[in-house]
């Protein structure tokens, strides 16, 4: 056999040492793999993954207030309701940055009352600026074709004419958010960015029948802040509405019951679905607002489980009379 001098012959000891090193390297790789392996999978709990939350937008020291004004002219009833609660200055201070969360869910004409009426958006914007607000933004996440929804409802034009900035949802405006104690809103994409640096949040919703929840009013209106595949929440509609109310503690809610959608909600589609109920509800307690709104739909809060659930969660009172609401007529 020829012996090539460039080939070094390993002796038994060297072979064993090298084998041991290779074995140790393999064992280390396996140990590292085992160490990194997470048998439980990612932890979905809020505390570990989302440090983003919405601040409390309620007005300190104001307590629960409510006003119910009856009349056909929604702008006039809104004005009177705000006035009866101490005027807009009670809610908006000089320099406030205000967000109006409207319902622009459908690209349907304002007359069908499936969306927040543009006239009260314009009026509320004007009132806020009149009280010294530094900025007013109007937003919602209508899911389907936001531009058409804001334009065809008349909301975009009304808001812009009054000087508000309209923010249409874009992917980069969403952040993952968890509501503490919530079962459903855990690491869910929420239309968060428009709320950054906002000091006052006002919810503005129409009173509507809803095929799944029985009604869509002030609390359900926050559904429009959710992103992603939110339709899965329809399977547990009462819980999600309660959790939406947990997510947003607003400065004020405005529930427009001038024309209530009595049937075929939440889309409606015909004037036949509407009833002139001639009522404007303004409240700092969104549970109370919804409890009264239910009466406009010929329902009680007992017919709408989410109201009782929200009350039980300490988010407000279903006994709106206990707030001694101002009740006025035009």
């Amino acid at each position: 056999m020829n012996h090539d001098p460039s080939i070094k012959v390993l002796n038994r000891r060297q072979f064993l040492v090298r084998s041991a090193k290779a074995g140790a390297a393999i064992a280390a790789a396996c140990a590292a793999g085992f160490w990194f392996h997470d048998a439980k999978g990612p932890d979905r709990s809020a505390e570990h993954h989302s440090d983003i939350h919405l601040p409390d937008f309620s007005i300190e020291g104001l307590g629960a207030k409510m006003s119910i004004v009856r009349g056909q002219d929604r702008v006039a009833t809104l004005r009177l309701a705000i006035k009866s609660m101490g005027g807009i200055e009670t809610f908006i201070k000089n320099g406030d940055r205000v967000l109006l969360k409207v319902n622009a869910a459908f690209a349907s004409p304002a007359m069908l009352s499936a969306t927040t009426h543009p006239a009260i958006i314009a009026e509320m914007t004007a009132l806020c600026y009149g009280a010294g607000a530094a900025s007013v933004v109007v937003t919602d996440n209508p899911i389907n074709d936001p531009a058409s929804c804001f334009n065809l409802t008349g909301i975009a034009e009304a808001a812009r004419r009054a000087g508000a900035k309209v923010i249409l949802p874009r992917a980069e405006l969403f952040k993952s958010l968890t509501v503490p104690q919530a079962k459903l809103i855990r690491n869910r994409p929420v239309l968060y960015q428009p709320l950054v640096d906002i000091t006052k949040v006002i919810g503005m919703a129409p009173v509507k029948d809803h095929h799944r929840s029985g009604a869509s009013m002030a609390m359900k209106n926050w559904y429009g802040l959710l992103g992603g595949r939110r339709n899965i929440f329809h399977q547990d509609i009462n819980t999600i509405i309660k959790e939406l109310a947990m997510m947003v503690n607003p400065s004020l809610v405005i529930l427009d019951g001038t024309m209530s959608m009595m049937t075929n909600g939440p889309t409606g589609g015909s004037l036949s679905d509407l009833k002139q109920t001639n009522t404007m509800i303004v409240a700092t307690d969104q549970v109370a607002a919804d409890a009264f709104g239910a009466t406009l739909l010929d329902k009680t809060f007992n017919d709408l489980p989410f109201i009782g659930m929200a009350e039980a969660a300490g988010l407000g009172t279903a006994d709106y009379r206990s707030l001694d609401p101002a009740e006025l007529s035009l």
Binding site: P42, A171, R229, P266, T267, G269, L271, S272
Partner: protein
């Protein structure tokens, strides 16, 4: 004997180090990415609706739904298609109504009236897979003040909209205002759709099973699921009656077998009793019929062949008996069941 090659060039050494460096970088990246992974964070595209994608994907356009458009109407927006998984992006909470009734697809599009720039019309064409499903969603949403039309057997209009069933399609044509000027374009759009869409006429033969006497006009409906709050009760035809100035309802559902009908009748009776109803012993005109009082009204449940049927919401037992006999006789006469 094991031999070691002493000839390792600097090039080989450099290549080995480069490969190892790349592997270390990849490994580090994987570790960092794993720790940042959050399953609740959807890809950016998913944060917005799937409908946004829908609107960009090959639109059905006017051509597929209304070709050719009647004179004076032009597309305002591109058409959109919605299927079972994203119907709620378009109609939100009402999607369940359609999905539970066999929804297959929605095509929607907005049109503008070229003579009136501020007027627009949106058409919703729900493909419900068959005429019965289409009739179900039509009847579930029927407006009390709707004015019947003759464009199809099941059609009506309200001040701002047309609603009708054409074959397996349920169609809504909704205008942006309620005025005389919307009537013509809506009618033209409906006529054009009907003329250009070949489909079998939705004949709801089951309507014949309801007795005509005291029947409230246009009150016949079809409940696809969860009828009267009972989840096992589906495919139920209902009709409103007015007897002696008060209203009550007759209904029936054809099951697969006679036994199925009997079981359903029994379980429905139990359902009523479990929710506070009182089963009442009474001399009833139909063999094996059951009478239940619930919430100050009376219900009679019976079976005829594979039909499970009954009356409900009667304010007196006599009223319930009166209508149930008529319903029984009519089913016996028309159904052809032994």
């Amino acid at each position: 004997m094991i031999r070691e090659n002493k000839h390792i060039s600097s090039r080989q050494t450099f290549s080995s180090l480069a490969i190892l460096t790349i592997l270390i970088i990849i490994g580090t990246g994987v570790i960092i990415a794993q720790y940042r992974y959050n399953p609740a964070l959807l890809p950016k595209d998913a944060l917005l609706s799937t409908a946004a994608k829908t609107s960009r994907s090959s639109p059905p356009s006017a051509e597929k739904s209304f070709l050719p458009l009647p004179q004076g109407l032009a597309p305002l927006t591109v058409g959109e298609i919605f299927e079972t998984q994203n119907l709620s992006d378009k109609i939100n909470g009402k999607a369940e109504l359609y999905l539970s009734a066999g929804f297959a697809r929605l095509v929607s599009q907005r049109f503008k009236d070229e003579r009136a720039s501020d007027l627009w019309i949106e058409a919703f064409i729900y493909d419900m897979a068959n005429g019965h499903n289409a009739f179900s969603v039509f009847s579930a949403q029927r407006r009390d003040d709707g004015i019947p039309l003759d464009i199809t057997p099941h059609s009506y209009r309200t001040p701002n909209a047309l609603f009708f069933v054409h074959g397996s399609y349920y169609v809504e044509i909704i205008a942006s205002e309620a005025s005389e000027r919307v009537v013509q374009p809506m009618n033209l759009l409906a006529a054009r759709f009907i003329r250009n869409t070949r489909t079998e006429t939705a004949a709801i033969n089951e309507m014949e099973l309801f007795p005509q006497q005291d029947l409230v006009a246009d009150s016949i409906g079809l409940i696809s699921s969860d009828a009267f709050g009972y989840e096992s009760l589906d495919k139920v035809y209902t009709a409103e009656y007015e007897l002696d100035g008060t209203g009550l309802m007759a209904y029936f559902s054809r099951r697969l077998t006679v036994d199925d009908a009997k079981k359903l009748a029994g379980s429905y009776r139990n359902f009523l009793v479990n929710f506070g109803g009182q089963s009442i012993e009474s001399q009833l005109p139909i063999k094996n019929a059951q009478l239940v009082e619930i919430l100050d009204t009376y219900e009679i449940i019976f079976c005829y062949g594979a039909y499970m049927a009954g009356v409900r919401e009667a304010v007196t037992i006599d009223q319930a008996k009166k209508l149930v006999i008529r319903l029984y006789d009519r089913i016996k006469e028309v159904s052809g069941e032994p």
